[in-house]
């Protein structure tokens, strides 16, 4: 137990901050994922074949390629890509991107592919009559989306989005390969310096279980809130 003490003697405070880091990366990645879903869901539902193709390409490739490979692409390719863009503007110095940004972006793109599928499924399962009824009532297109479609879509999407959140939360453990100090990386460091990997990795597992358990509790409450009236 003294291994988990706070302060200089134990790893308690380090692991606590690492847990916060895991949460921060997960939330950032989830938000980036939503932004991607916001772009790609309309593409997948579009009438135009070319736009469909782009949307399908994104979700198929990301869901068919290992997360670790995507992370390596960003880790090794990220600063290269930024430097290439910067060089077009006449900036030739070496640019190193922060591991937090690379990691959140890599996980965000993965999480976005799953969110896109969830939103697509939710919109498609809304009754056609709802679109028609709001059209008949003369509701404008964007108000129809915000006031009629979105609330119904969220209710259908929340259970599946909670799965996406779980996947995203667990995927953040892979960012440890880039050196970002989150739960896995901190456990790796602690295990290396104390030579007690069994304890620290098991403790990491407990931390992840705690995070998934608590977030499920929270999401269940949201689910109840959004299924009012049904």
């Amino acid at each position: 137990m003294e291994l988990l003490a706070f302060g200089k003697t134990g790893w308690g405070d380090e692991l606590f901050y690492a847990t916060l880091m895991t949460l921060a990366v997960s939330v950032t990645a989830m938000i980036i994922g939503f932004l991607f879903a916001l772009i790609f869901t309309p593409l997948k539902l579009s009438k135009y074949k070319t736009l469909n193709l782009i949307g399908n390409f994104y979700t198929t490739v990301i869901r068919g390629v290992p997360e670790l490979l995507v992370i390596y692409l960003f880790f090794f390719g990220g600063s290269g890509a930024i430097m290439f863009v910067a060089s077009m503007f006449g900036y030739f110095e070496y640019i190193e991107i922060n591991a937090f940004i690379t990691g959140s972006f890599a996980i965000g793109i993965i999480s976005g592919a799953y969110s896109t599928e969830v939103f697509r499924g939710a919109i498609q399962s809304i009754d056609k009559g709802q679109f028609e009824a709001s059209k008949v009532l003369g509701i404008k297109k964007h108000i129809q989306f915000y006031k009629v479609i979105l609330p119904q879509m969220l209710r259908l999407a929340i259970p599946n989005l909670s799965n996406v959140w779980q996947i995203t939360l667990k995927d953040t453990s892979l960012i440890s390969v880039t050196g970002l100090v989150e739960i896995m990386r901190q456990s790796y460091i602690a295990a290396g310096s104390t030579r007690d990997p069994l304890f620290f990795y098991s403790f990491a597992a407990v931390l992840y279980l705690l995070l998934t358990y608590l977030s499920m509790k929270l999401i269940n409450r949201l689910e109840v809130k959004y299924s009012r009236g049904y």
Binding site: G64, L69, L174, V177, Y213
Partner: protein
């Protein structure tokens, strides 16, 4: 784009794919048995057995696969007692550690898939079997299992694809699978995009094959 690198790295990556496929098939094979066992335990009426099976699947589904591999590969070696047993021959090999972790992980997901498949079997099928005087054991093997397999095909197909992607984590315990070799080539040539296209293409091709196979089986075993 460095096409020459893409062409020269292709055979190396294809070679590594063999290890990926070995890891995948071994873990799916053991995982299916573990999954079936825990699905049956989950349906047991004894609350202790039931809770145990639930706890198993909860823990393995609630923690990242990376943690599970690290506990098995780095953690178990720490237990002095294990080092003296015959098990150590297996546990000191990263290859077998990866397979154990993958099998336990996919077993947890498979048990959930099979459990829900067993539960959605219409009671009429079992009652029909009983009224024909078929014994419980034969009802289980000849009626429940085939129907459950058919029911769980789509979800199990997804699980195979998730596991295929999961095998990439073997590269974190020094195994040179497809992702491991891809990372090695990237870190020596600093050409991430080219290698990503080739390695990702191989993964996508495998995903496509699994997807088509499951679609074919679904059609073949459509009993409705």
């Amino acid at each position: 784009m460095d096409f020459e690198l893409m062409i020269t790295s292709f055979p190396k990556l294809l070679n590594a794919t063999v290890i990926t496929l070995k890891l995948l098939s071994a873990s799916l094979f053991f995982g299916l048995f573990i999954g079936l066992l825990f699905a049956i335990l989950r349906m047991n009426k004894n609350p202790i057995i039931n809770k145990f099976a639930y706890g198993y699947s909860y823990i393995f589904r609630g923690t990242p696969l990376l943690v599970q591999i690290f506990i098995i590969y780095f953690g178990l070696g720490q237990i002095e007692y294990l080092r003296s047993t015959a098990l150590w021959v297996i546990l000191k090999e990263p290859y077998w550690c990866a397979i154990i972790a993958f099998a336990l992980n996919t077993g947890a997901y498979t048990s959930e898939i099979l459990r829900s498949a067993f539960q959605t079997i219409k009671p009429g099928f079992i009652e029909a079997g009983k009224s024909l005087g078929i014994s419980n054991k034969i009802i289980f093997y000849k009626i429940q299992i085939p129907i459950a397999i058919r029911q769980s095909l789509p979800a199990y197909g997804n699980e195979i694809i998730l596991m295929l992607k999961g095998t990439s984590l073997a590269s974190t315990v020094t195994l040179m699978d497809l992702t491991g070799v891809a990372k090695y080539i990237i870190s020596t040539t600093f050409k991430p995009i080219e290698v990503f296209v080739v390695a990702g293409g191989i993964y996508l091709f495998m995903t496509f094959i699994v997807h088509s196979l499951i679609k074919y089986l679904e059609k073949k075993y459509n009993y409705q």
